[in-house]
């Protein structure tokens, strides 16, 4: 047992460091993009269109990961694309978490009519196909960073609300809650001091998961051409373009796709890693 536990711990530690490391790298790219990017991400040069990456035949020095059909440098565009990805991940993820977790906590702990209203809202929300809903919202709000963030928050709060509500309900049935009442704690006090610490690990896992999802939603919206203005380099926009020319220039699709893949994976693993490392019950 001791052995298995150590193994789990080591794996969890590795997971935490790898995922945190990759996200730090993306963050660094986002911050330093104007200085480290070898080229202007918007600079077009039709003579340099569809250059392959550096290890293949027919490359130009300096275009490490090749260029797209308009001759824009793929690496520079990925570095700049990290900015929007990260902004969306952090802001949309955090806002969604705050709103969804609060509603879930209130519904699950207070029960009664609060729960009735929130549960009904969740039911209605869950009956919408989320991707279609987000596309619709962007059509209403108009493209742009703020619209994307609003759309993500409006659609994804139920992810938190559902899980946190169920968890809070389960915790609410435990005797430590009754014990807090016997000690004279108020309802809100009990919710914040007793229930919240027990739901927090779940919230953290959901939060980092949501950050990854936010990046994907942005990519999906770029893919259907509804995200930011078409000029700004985003990973989703690059992927959309890469998809159309996948038979001619696969690298235009592959590099942003791998970046996106790793980032989403890192976000999802970060939460689990943090929980394994810092949840007192798992120590």
């Amino acid at each position: 047992m001791a052995d298995a536990r150590a193994l789990v711990h080591r794996r969890a530690g590795l997971r935490l460091w790898l995922s945190a490391g990759w996200i730090a790298l993306v963050a660094a790219a986002a911050l330093l993009a104007p200085w480290i990017a070898p080229h202007d991400p918007l600079a077009q040069d039709l003579f340099l269109g569809r250059l392959p990456p550096f290890w293949m035949e027919g490359t130009e020095p300096g275009y490490w990961l090749g260029t797209d059909s308009l001759g824009r440098d793929v690496l520079s565009r990925i570095l700049h694309g990290a900015r929007i990805a990260l902004i969306v991940a952090v802001i949309a993820g955090t806002l969604t978490c705050l709103i969804g977790a609060t509603l879930g906590l209130l519904a699950g702990f207070l029960r009664g009519w609060v729960d009735l209203v929130i549960s009904r809202l969740i039911d209605i929300w869950m009956a919408f196909p989320p991707v279609l809903f987000s596309i619709l919202l962007i059509a209403v709000l108009g493209p742009g960073l703020t619209s994307i963030i609003i759309a993500i928050v409006v659609i994804d709060w139920t992810r938190f609300a559902r899980v946190v509500r169920a968890e809070a309900m389960a915790q609410g049935a435990m005797d430590y809650v009754a014990s807090a009442r016997v000690a004279g704690r108020t309802r809100i006090g009990t919710m914040l001091r007793e229930i919240l610490p027990n739901v927090l690990p779940t919230i953290v896992v959901l939060l980092t998961l949501e950050m990854g999802i936010a990046v994907i939603v942005e990519a999906i919206l770029s893919f259907v051409n509804l995200s930011i203005s078409t000029d700004d380099p985003t990973w989703g926009g690059m992927i959309a373009e890469g998809r159309t020319s996948v038979h001619q220039a696969w690298w235009v699709l592959v590099f942003p796709l791998v970046t996106l893949f790793l980032t989403v994976l890192a976000f999802s693993q970060l939460g689990e890693g943090l929980k394994d490392r810092y949840d007192p019950v798992l120590q």
């Binding site: 009904r120 009956a127 991707v131 998809r243 796709l257």
Partner: protein, 336 residues
Amino acid sequence: MQLLRAILQRLLTTAITLIGVAVIVFVVVRVVPGNPIAMMLPPGATDEDIARLTAQYGLDKTIPEQFLIWARGVLHGDFGTSITARQPVLDLVLGRLPATLELSLMALVIAVILGGIAALTGTRKRDTLTEAGIDITNGMALSIPDFLWGLLLILAFGVLVPIFHISGRVTPSLELPFTTDFYLVESLVRLRFDLWLDIVSHMFLPALALAIPLAAIIGQLLKQSLKETMHLDYVTLARTKGYGENHVILREALPNAILPTLTLVGVQFTFLIGGTVIIERLFSYEGLGNMAIDAVINRDLPLIQGIVILFAVIFTAVNLVVDLLYAVLNPRLRHG
């Protein structure tokens, strides 16, 4: 009696949900900027033309009035007329529905098979490296959404090793003898295996992309549930009777482990159906989702409404079916 009450309760909440969806989509759609009527007329149309058409589609009335008119129509099976296609919304939507249903169900089948295998293997080989491998694979499959899987599959099996089609529902040059829109089913019924293979080759990658996250969820939940069940006394008792591991897993543990998994899989299946929207776009698959995105881009209000309502109906129907299945499979509800 108890069952009847539960059913009534479900129908009531379902009705509330559907009305809620209808109201929200109706309002959201009507604040979309841009005049759809102006978009559909040729340049140079007069203001009068626009006003006439606007009135024809009822868009000059207030939103509550429009809603009531629309709701009355819906109750009579009339979902309005598509602005771009100028055909009844219901016809358009029902024409595309079979494509999306076939895709979703194929994805579900793949997910159940893959997830089931993962769960059973993981349980059989629990506490070994095999189980750890399954856990890691599941974890990855779970944290990457269908959209990314779709792209990766396009690269892997459409470009790198091109063994599947990555675009469309069927090769356009083929002659189709079908009378329904259920191509996959009808090709089988007509014993046209050449067509069937072509259709499967088109559907397989999008279905797999949709299936992977669900397979991971089934694998994870069912395995967890199986492992918990394996610790229960009736499983231990079966071992002492002389039964081997496979028998114990399949006959004693599995029937009980499926139940808790089933409810969660129901919700996840609605997510899968929601995922068809973007996956159909990605694979240029002619289904509801693809149509929905076009409808949004073209500001085709009646069509958007119709599609969203249809999705909501499908989702609630899936949940109802899952609840029924649960009741059928659970002896506690079936008897007494």
